[in-house]
Every structure is written in structure tokens, then in C-alpha cells.
Symmetry: C2
Subunit: 754 residues, 2 copies
């Protein structure tokens, strides 16, 4: 089979870059000063037994972050970002992740390196065995495992273009075996470029045998964490590979198949035995050191280069003798790993040839590659200072590698904590969805984005699947219930017929008829509003009645927003938003119009600027609170109160800048859940039950919460919302946070909340 | 209490016409030639025990149509219209309703007048007693019972404006007692105007005592169906009224309280005894003859006049002696009832005074009244030919009263059957909602319109309430499921992940990226479409691939309709719409583009005109099929086939006028439910189950239904619809009707489907 001829075919080109990536990244948990922590795996992460995103590796301190399978670099990195965000913010605020593959200073006593406290006793036993066989210190090294799979459509196209192999699975296996052998042969280039363990930290090596530091990669050298020398496995063919591993296990050289620590692991099925029947599904590169200059331990450029490199290795002819070919690679890799990080590699000439071939390959197949990718790699080949090991060694010279690691680690820590309400990687999504995803990832519920712009998620735990849109539209509500809530007239009729107090009112479909209603409302407080808009547009409020002219104008304004309008009795009192989930009042919020409090010294504009410093305030609904504006509406409002933006309000005087209390126009959100008496909570919950909703935000007007709720006129229900904003309750301006997103998950996956 | 002074107050005026009406209308079922039927109550109406709309009165042939309580004349008449539509179309097509109060020719033998076959034995016993006491023939007369209630807001306003009566219920009772006494005193005017039983039909009177026909109203005269003369009840006060009736029952003059057949019945609570405690809630006028010139037995003008008359009677002073006052009314009414229909009434002078007072009252209180209402009434007072009895008598002279009744009856019958897919009174609503309402009314499920323009219904049977929007959005589906279906990308992902075949494809959010996808689709059949529009707009289909220019153009067209587009593999085959309710395939439809079949004689335009004669075809989705157009698209399509609208296609040649198969552009709907093999039905049902939907329309492309559905490529799922059009299945162009609306009701109220 001439793979090069096949790859050149035009039909193949659309599929060439089809790919699936996944990543597992280990990191040691350390204090903010870089000491290994003594704390357990964070409790906030729930049960780690089946946690799909955040696990423990060998030691209790060694966190393993696992991305789902992704289909692009962009997707891979957004998941890396998100899982890092969750990992950081699930740990104590006193902890961070150590950014080096090399662990920080290790304890003097071996037993102070605590083996992961897993529930499954077999897992613990295996780690105990590893500790005895390889030593606990060696196990503390961290790295990246990069799972790589050619797109199925690519392999199917290749399969169709050849005739020699008739079995698809066999064909696929051969593809991966070739790539694996070539990777093992040429991986020294990866070690040269991306090796990043030049120096060991205190008490990593306790034995005599140590490398002559600095080197390029202790971890990839013979001093790294490797199988004993008598473990030998061929990559010549799948049956031979499986047979060899079986033999090693039989002979006791490996305790079990997973102890085989090849720099490339062949993957498919759940157990290695499946490989023989189902073939290779993907390969796992295990030789990547953590890149301390990158927040997630690896850069997008590195991933792109690895991808191209693997594709190139499929194209590139290999040596005739598989075992010798691989052995040659092992030897070369060790050589490069142990070179001084600033010295030219002895393999520079082979490197030049390799990169030139790769460049020609990319051009011949018209593969689109990021600008500077090749020139930067070529430059690094010529200049060791541009390799990761070179950069790390040089930077460490200024102080120490550990100091640098703490600096880098703290930078990443601060990034993760800067806007704790956002989820890195998904900041374009609605805030409530970001928080819900955070909570799901934290609890180990698998998240799949079905449609990002539509805020559509698939959640999965065990065999159970739930779909969620806009963070709280779920299977728990019946279809017709949100339709009831979406229609103000219908909501009112349903509540009224169930005996709840709603403002009396009428619906009109034309202006002439609406005007005949004047006499009914004229002398009382009333509100004129469009039937179905939701943003406060077109609403006129007359707290003490209105002239016919005012009424006429209000009717016209409302009709400019909708084809139907409502004229309703005005209910005086304070408006509270009750959030009810499954019959329980989970949060109550008071919203206060945008305001500042005078201190007798600062001008209004300064007070606003000061209040806007709050990290909770931002723009475009990507923060729990919005910045207070000083636009024409606010200036007019100030003017009406006898102020300008330069006025200096007296101490403790509160100056309102808006009439409406919407958080979206700079209002304050104040949690008052614990202050509202039970009887009002019951009214709200009962009203939601009358509508039949499981998830609902319901707005009550209450003139005086100290009056019993059963008093006539004690409350009035203004509106019910089937998609209540949750972020404002989770990050209120004032008062206690109510983690409503976790409550949504508890409704969907009660079994995951233990 | 000076009620006139109170009514004059300006505060009262907005509430003056607030009112609640309800109507019960009896009619005999007859054949299309006017003979009393011998058939039972229609089985289609389900169980009549608690039927809220359609009941039987005394005889099995005597249907009673009952409206819900309504708050305007318009609302009352739309319900009358709807219930009549349902009644007509629930009977055999050989039956109609007799439009006169006077029954048609009665059988010779008494026992051939069949007493209503009710389930409740007590109800049957009571009718047997009535048959013995009053005779079966007398019981066969029909009429209208008009339930009248002043708006609660009006009575509350009146109550607040006075100080004499402190008990609200007592006040209300007094209001109604006054109106009742005055109505009894002046009801002769109603008999004069609206009396409509001038002549008896064959064998109505079998005894000697008969009126000297013609008269104005046999039914309201002493010859009508009345209590025996020894039944005397006072209206002086509520306690006296209740005591009198109790006494009559005790003395055996009445079998029970409901046998008291006053022209006005006082109503409140379930039993008469409740009147004493809860007071009068409304009054029931029982003296209205059926108006044979009106489809529903009464006109809107009659209702308006009755309303104003009752309001006027509240205003008008009454006589000092209640019993004498009422007795005077009884005597005058009998006098007028027995006058010749074309003679001037002896009470014409009292009538003139009454109408003049009423007119002044209306003016003084600025009540808005329909044009000509008073002038027509005044004219009828002066000219007996303009009274109902006068008109009926005159019209009957041309042939006979019975012939006229058959003519009128058939006219109403034909109106009811003209467009059997519509529901009179609610023709502005969506067709599926009209049909669902028809079915609900037929089955005795109470229907409340919550929002007409939003197609929002409340359905109730027993204590169970269900809400329905757009005829099939119900509580049976969970909220997130229609959201899945509303998003084509999400639907495809869910179906794909569950193992169903969906067209391969990609979603693009910008044109540049979309263009890079060309190579992937170029050489196969594919479709470019906007992500979320639903009306076929912006879709380009390339059955055999396309040039880059064509692709580019198609992408631009799709983006002109939406911000995201889909490029999908084209699946060849025939598209079928499967409708699945609760896991069962209820209907499968094939939609064929607008077409005509040549006969070798007619031109295309004539063939189209001929096909458009089908009463199922109409416009604006208020018919199951749309008219075939001959616009520019159709002409272009003809041209491409070498035709014009003047061409004469050969016999049996089918000429297509559209490429798309939408029913909305004149396409034909063909039911193929019984022709599609079970395995495809299972695929469709399983796919719907995978989405989690209870009510779903799912579109499958099937190249060949004779192939097993499990064959690779045997089917592809194009789309799932959470609000599938139902009317096209109920009234298909060809094939069997599938009553999907009844299936929706069966899902919601299985207990009502026995």
C-alpha cells in the first residue's frame, strides 16, 4: 500500500485534518508558596470514583484533569480552560496547581507522600505496588497524556482508496501502528522542543543514580519514571504486541497490562485484550512534559505541531525492521533528553531533514498551517534557548526553578479566581449557563454542548441523560406550563381562578376599545403595558390615576410595542422575586434601582466610578451586576432631584440614578431570603404549584411583610417567569449567595448530590 | 333606597352593562322532512350524564343545548354557534333540529313519545311523573331559558352607594326580587314581541280545551305547559318564596321544587334551599319561544333588548303590593298571548309608555344601545306584522307552518354541514384548535378560552384541568423536548447519538467558514438551509452536487434567512410525515406538490379551477387544503414543462404546478397510514421516544418502503416537529381521515373516551 499516493488524492483532502483529541493533565496541588499540600482531594468535587473531569493520580496531592474527546484545538483548549477553572475554584483558596512536571520539594519521609485515598481498594493496592516497585518519589512526576485519534471519516476515505487490506479494523490498526513506530523513532524531536524537566527539585532523587543536571528532560530520560529494562514489547504487529505484554505479565515483569509505561500507549476497548479484536481506536502520547509557561501546561501551537507531526509520520516511510526502528528511537530520545538544555542537539541534522520533509509534505497536501508554526520550530531547532527546557533553565537562573514555578502558578491561580462567576472557555455563553456548567463539571456530571449559541446542554451521569437549555429549562417542567407563564393574561387567569390575588385588569386588542376602559381605571392607580414584551418597554405607571390625555398617551405607547395591551390595577408595595424550585422557596431577592451613597466628600460621578469597581459589575450580562451608567436617563433623574454628576451628596444620603429596579440598568440585587416570613413563601410556592411549574421565578408585591400574608391586599402577584435569572442570586450585591444552579442539578440528578 | 338616584351616579356608569349570560335551548330532533326522529341521543356525544353542553330534556328526541356562562352578547352567540355546530354534526346526517317551540306532528300513541333514556333512574322516574301529571304532548314544547346575572362589579358598586342594607347577599337578593316582580308584571311585552307559537301542530292538543288559533304564544298562554292553577308562590320576599314552594311540595301540589315552572326562576346554589342562605345569584327567564327565523332560536337584538329591559326594570318603580303586581302581570301576559298575532294589542298604550320611559332611562344613564334597537321595537309595537308571531303566521300562510319550519331547519342544517372542519363562532382560530374544541365539546369536556389569539385553551372534565395551546402543546410533553425539536442541530445530534440515521452535515455561523466546507459536499447530493426557519425559505437542494459558484450562492441565500446555516447530505427518496402520539403511529401522510390531472379536453386553468371547487380547499389555513394558485411560480413551472395555463394536457397526464410539496402552496395530502410497513412505523416511534416526545410529527425520507427498515440507508430522519399540523390528517385530500384531535383528548382525558 502506497500511503503517500493515497494521501495525495484530492478526495482525501477535505478529511485530512479531521481529528479527535483528548487530554489528561497531572499537577501537584501546592500551597501559594509552593509547598506540597497536606490536604485531601477537595470535598466540593463530590465522589471521585467515577469523576469524568477531575481525578487523582498516584498521590492524594496529584490532581488529574481530564478533557472530554474534542474535535478541534479550540474545543480542546476551552475544555482545558473550563476544567482548570473548576479545579482551582474547587480547591481551598490557599491552594494552587504546581506548573512543573518536576514535583516541588518532597517530604523527607516516604510515607509523607500520601497515596491517593481512593474508594476502590484494588486501585489503592495497585498504587501501593507501584510505590514499592518504582518508589513514591518517582511517581510524583507529572505530565500530559495526549490522546490522539484520526477522524473516522479520514480513515474511511483512506480505506476506500486502497485495495490491499479488506478488513477496516485491521487497516485502521496498521495505520496507528505505523504512526506509533515512527513516533517512537522520531520522538526525540518532541523531547528536544518540548522537554521541560531540566532540573530536579529537593528530594526527588534520593538514590545515587542521577543525571548530570541541567538536561532537557529528566522525565523522558532513563532517570524518569519508566518500566524496568527487562520489559520489552514489540510494535511489529498487534498480535505480537499483545502477546509480548501478556508474556511480561505472566513472567511477573509487569503486575498488569496498565503498568506498561510506553511513551505511546495503544488504545481501544476497555482492556488491552480488546485491542486484538477491536483494533486500535486511538493512541496516547505520554511523553509530554508540562509547559510551565502555559496556564494549561501545553500551548495550542504544541498541539497543532503534534497533530501535523503525527499526520506526517503516517506519510513518512519507516524502517524495514520495526523493533530496530523503535530501539533506535528510544536510544536517540534518551540521548537528546540528557543533553544540556542550551547546547545544540547532536541530532540537529536529522532534525533539519525531518522539518524540511514535513514542510514539503504540508505544502504538497495543501494543509493549512498557522503562520510561523514551522519557522518557530526551525528557529528552536537551531537555537536551544528557544526550546522549553532552554527557556525554563534560563529563567530559573534569575532566582530558582521553584521560585519561577511559584510565580507562574500564582499567575494562573489569580486568573482562575479573577471572575469567579465566569467559566473560562465558555465566557461567550449566558452567565447562568456558565455557572451551571461549572457546577456540573465540579460534581462530575458530564456536559456536552449541543448548541452553544442556544445555550443547549446535554448532561449525563451514569446512564441518565438530561437536556438543559438556558440553564433552567429542563424535563422537569411540562411543556404547557412555560407557555402559560409566557402569556401574562393566561397566567393571571390561572392564578385568579386558583384564588390568588392578581391585579384586576383588562386586555385590549385595539386602541379605540382600550380608550373606553378609561372610566374603569381613571380614579385609581393603574398600569398600562404591552401584553408580551418583557423588558419594561412601553410600560406607563400611574400611581394615583391619570387624566384621559395621559391615559390615551400611555395606551398609544403600549400599542407601539405590541398588538395587545393590558390595563391593570396598580398594586402599591415592594416587589420581591421569589425563586421556587419543586415547591421550595430557594431564594428571594429585592432589587433596588441604581444608586450611590454619599460620603460628604465625593462627587456623584466619583461615587459611581467607585461603586463600579466592584468585580461583580460588568457589561452585557456576563457579570452578575451591570455597571452604573451616567447617560441621559441618569442625568435627568439626578436633575429632577436637584443634582448633577458633579454634586457632592451629603454623608449617607442615597441618590437614585434610575427609577426602575432592573439589575440590567445598574440596580443592586439584595438577597432577603431569610428575612421574608414563611407565610409569604408559602403563598409564592402555592401560586407556582397552581401554575404547575417546577422551576419558576414569581414576582410578588408586598406592602408590608410584617402583616400576615392572608390579610386582604397583603400581596399581589405581578408575573411568573419560567426562565428566572439565576446569576443574580448566586452573586448578589448584598446578602447571602444562593447556588440555584446547583439546585437545578439537584432536581435533575439528586443521586449526584450526596 | 332610591335605586334611581344611585344608578344616576357617575361612578356606576362604567359598570352598568357588566353582565353574565347563559342559555339553555331545547329543540326536537327531526328528519330532513320534519318528522320526529325515532333514533336515540347520538352516541358520538359520549355519556350524557354530566355533559355540560348537550343534554336531553323531557323526551329522547328533545335535545337541550347549554352555553357556558358568558360576559357579552358576542361571546354568548359564538358559544351558541359552536354548540349548534357540534350538535348538528354529532347527529346522523339524516337528522336536523326543528326550529319551532311548537313540536312537529306528534305520534298518535302517547307511548311513541319516548321519555329520555337517562342513566339516572331518578331522572327517568321524574319524567314519568311529569308525563302522568301534564301529559307527554305538553312536555314536547321547546323554548329558551335565558340565565341572566348582573355583573358582580355592578352590584358591588350599587351596594357601596347605599347605606340602608348592610348585608351584601341580602342586598343582591332584593335587587333580583325587584327585577323579577317587575319582569313578571311587564313580561307581556316580551310575549307580544317575541311570542312565536301561533298555531299548534298535529296532535299537540288531544283534549277539548284548545285556544282559538292563531294566537301570539300558545306556549305562554294558559294552554301552554304550566303548573296547575293551585300552585301559588309569592315573590314578596325570599323567606316567603321558599316557604311557599316548600308548602306546595308538602301539600303534594308539586312533586319537588324544580317542578315549579315560573316564567322566572330564582337561582343560586345547587338546591332551592340554598337560596335562603346564599341569596339569589341569577335569574332564569323561561318564557322565550324559539325564534324560527334565527339559526340559534334567538337573535342578538333580542338578547340586547332583554338585557336593557331587565336593567330598566331594576330602575323602574314597582307596585306597592307584590302579589297583586305579579298577578296583574300574569293576567296581562295571558291576555296578550291569546291575542290574534296580527291584531293590535289591547296593551298598546301601556307599551308606548313603557318604551318611552325605557328610552329616557337609556339616555339619562348614557347607555350605548345598538342603532335602531328602540325604533324597531316601537315599530313592532305599532305594527303586529313585525312581531315574531305576526311574521311566523304570515309566512306560514303561504304553505303551512310545518313547511316553513322544514325550510328554515334545512337552511340551518346546511350551514352547519357546509364546512365540517370549521367550528362556527371560532373560525378566526387555527383550524386544529377549532377541531379540537369541536371534539372537546362533543365529548363533554368543558372548554374555556384563555387567550384566543394565542390558541390557549383550558379543558376541564370533572375535577381535572388540562391546558392546551395550538391544539397539541400540552402537559404531556416535558419542556425541554420541544426545545430540542425547535433546534435542528440539537435534534440531529440527539437522534444521531441514539443510533438513528440523520443526514450528515455541518452547521456554519459565517459565510467564510461555510465556503471551506465545499469540498466535503461538492460531489454528492446536498442541501443548504437556514438553521431555524421553518417555511422552506432559503433552502437550496443539489441532488447531484454543485459547482463552487452554485454552492456560494446557496450559502448566501441561506444566510439571508438566518445567522446560522446547515449544509447537509441530500437523502433521495420520498418524504413521509409520521405523527406519533405516546409511542403510537397515529397517521402517516404523503404530501404531493400542487398538480392537476389532464382529461384531454380541459385547459390547465380549467383543471385548476375544477380542482379548487373541492370544499376542503380554501385560503389562509382556515381550510385543510389551500387553493392551487396560478401565479408566477406556477406559470414558470408550467413553462419549464412546455405548458401554459391554456395548454390542454392529455388524458391522465399529471401536471405539477409546484416543486415543493407543502399543503400551504396547494399540495395534496394523502393518508398512507395503512400502506407503510410496521418496521418503518417502529423506527419513527422509536426515534420520537429517543427525543422523549409524547406528541410529535417526524419526517422520514424512505427510498423504497418495500425494503426492510433495518437496511443501511433504508430511511433518513429529516426533521421532528413538536406542533405537527393535525387538520391535514383529519381532512386529507385522499385516503382515510385520522382524528388526531380526538387522540390528543384521549391522551389528556382517557377517562372521557369510553
Amino acid at each position: 500500500m502506497n500511503i503517500q499516493e493515497i494521501l495525495k488524492k484530492k478526495e482525501i483532502h477535505p478529511y485530512l485534518l479531521n481529528v479527535r483529541y483528548g487530554m489528561e493533565k497531572e499537577s501537584q496541588r501546592v500551597t501559594l508558596t509552593g509547598d506540597l499540600v497536606t490536604s485531601d482531594y477537595p470535598k466540593t468535587l463530590g465522589n471521585r470514583t467515577h469523576h469524568p473531569y477531575i481525578q487523582t493520580d498516584f498521590a492524594e496531592t496529584q490532581m488529574e484533569l481530564i478533557t472530554p474527546v474534542t474535535e478541534s484545538i479550540q474545543e480542546l483548549f476551552r475544555w482545558l480552560a473550563a476544567i482548570h477553572d473548576v479545579a482551582y475554584r474547587s480547591m481551598s483558596e490557599e491552594e494552587m496547581l504546581w506548573p512543573l512536571s518536576m514535583p516541588p520539594a518532597l517530604p523527607e519521609k516516604d510515607e509523607e507522600i500520601v497515596i491517593a485515598k481512593l474508594d476502590n481498594f484494588e486501585d489503592v493496592l495497585y498504587r501501593r505496588y507501584l510505590a514499592i516497585t518504582y518508589g513514591r518519589r518517582k511517581q510524583m512526576v507529572s505530565g500530559i497524556h495526549f490522546n490522539f485519534e484520526f477522524g473516522d471519516s479520514l480513515i474511511r476515505q483512506l480505506f476506500q482508496q486502497q485495495t490491499e487490506e479488506t478488513d477496516y479494523l485491521q487497516f485502521k490498526t496498521e495505520i496507528y501502528l505505523k504512526v506509533t513506530r515512527n513516533y517512537l523513532r522520531y520522538r526525540w524531536l518532541i523531547t528536544y522542543l518540548y522537554g521541560a524537566t531540566p532540573i530536579s527539585e529537593t528530594r526527588y532523587f534520593m538514590e545515587e543514580k542521577q543525571p548530570a543536571e541541567p538536561v532537557r528532560s529528566i522525565r523522558n530520560s532513563e532517570y524518569g519514571y519508566k518500566n524496568h529494562e527487562d520489559v520489552r514489547v514489540t510494535y511489529a504487529s498487534m498480535p505480537e504486541y499483545v502477546a509480548d505484554i501478556d508474556k511480561m505479565v505472566e513472567e511477573g515483569k509487569l503486575s498488569e497490562e496498565k503498568e506498561f509505561y510506553s511513551p505511546v500507549r495503544l488504545r481501544g476497548g476497555k482492556k488491552m485484550a480488546d485491542l486484538a479484536t477491536a483494533g486500535i481506536r486511538y493512541i496516547e502520547l505520554r511523553n509530554i512534559d508540562l509547559n510551565p509557561f502555559e496556564q494549561f501546561g501545553i500551548s495550542e501551537t504544541q498541539v497543532e505541531f503534534l497533530h501535523l507531526f503525527l499526520l506526517f509520520l503516517l506519510w513518512k516511510e519507516e524502517g524495514a525492521q520495526p523493533d530496530e526502528w523503535v530501539a533506535e528511537g528510544d536510544q536517540k530520545d534518551n540521548l537528546v533528553a540528557l543533553e544540556h538544555p542550551l547546547s545544540e542537539t547532536v541530532l540537529v541534522e536529522e532534525g533539519r531533514t525531518l522539518l524540511a520533509e514535513m514542510s514539503a509534505f504540508v505544502e504538497e497536501l495543501s494543509i493549512s498551517v498557522s503562520e510561523n508554526l514551522f519557522s518557530d520550530i526551525v528557529a528552536a531547532l537551531e537555537d536551544p534557548k528557544q526550546t522549553l527546557a532552554g527557556k525554563l533553565y534560563l529563567a530559573s537562573q534569575k532566582s530558582s526553578q521553584a521560585t519561577l514555578a511559584v510565580e507562574q502558578g500564582k499567575k494562573y491561580y489569580e486568573t482562575a479566581w479573577e471572575k469567579p462567576y465566569q467559566l473560562a472557555g465558555f465566557r461567550g455563553m449566558e452567565l447562568s449557563t456558565q455557572i451551571l456548567m461549572f457546577d456540573a463539571i465540579q460534581r462530575g456530571i458530564q456536559v456536552t454542548l449541543l448548541d452553544e449559541s442556544d445555550q443547549f446542554l446535554k448532561l449525563k451521569a451514569g446512564k441518565k441523560i438530561e437536556y438543559v437549555k438556558n440553564a433552567n429549562m429542563t424535563s422537569k417542567d411540562s411543556y404547557v406550563v412555560p407557555l402559560i407563564m409566557a402569556n401574562k393574561t393566561v397566567t393571571k387567569k390561572v392564578l385568579d381562578q386558583a384564588g390568588f390575588r392578581v391585579p384586576a385588569g383588562k386586555e385590549y386588542d385595539d386602541e379605540a376599545t382600550a380608550l373606553t376602559g378609561y372610566s374603569e381605571f381613571a380614579d385609581k392607580g393603574f398600569v398600562v403595558k404591552p401584553k408580551s414584551t418583557n423588558y419594561g418597554l412601553g410600560i406607563s405607571i400611574f400611581k394615583d390615576g391619570a387624566t384621559f390625555e395621559n391615559y390615551q398617551e400611555a395606551v398609544a405607547i403600549a400599542f407601539s410595542e405590541d398588538t395587545s395591551i393590558l390595563v391593570e390595577e396598580f398594586l402599591p408595595g415592594t416587589e420581591y422575586r421569589f425563586v421556587i424550585f419543586d415547591g421550595e422557596t430557594k431564594a428571594i431577592m429585592l432589587r433596588v434601582p441604581a444608586n450611590v451613597k454619599g460620603d460628604g466628600k465625593k462627587m456623584v460621578a466619583e461615587l459611581v466610578a467607585e461603586k463600579n469597581q466592584d468585580p461583580l459589575r460588568g457589561t452585557h450580562h456576563r457579570s452578575p451586576l451591570e455597571l452604573i451608567q451616567l447617560g441621559s436617563i441618569e442625568k435627568l433623574m439626578l436633575k429632577e432631584q436637584g443634582y448633577t454628576i458633579d454634586s457632592i451628596p451629603e454623608k449617607d444620603t442615597i441618590i437614585y440614578l434610575r427609577e426602575n429596579s432592573n439589575v440590567s440598568t445598574g440596580g443592586d440585587s439584595i438577597d432577603v431570603t431569610d428575612e421574608i416570613p414563611e407565610d409569604y413563601k408559602k403563598i409564592a410556592a402555592d401560586a407556582v404549584a397552581a401554575i404547575g411549574a417546577k422551576i419558576c421565578g414569581i414576582d410578588l408585591i408586598i406592602p408590608d411583610t410584617s402583616r400576615p400574608a392572608e390579610d386582604p391586599g397583603a400581596y399581589g402577584i405581578i408575573e411568573a417567569n419560567f426562565n428566572p435569572a439565576m446569576h443574580m442570586h448566586i452573586y448578589p450585591y448584598q446578602g447571602q449567595s444562593r447556588r440555584l444552579t446547583m439546585d437545578v442539578l439537584a432536581l435533575l440528578f439528586p443521586e449526584m448530590m450526596d
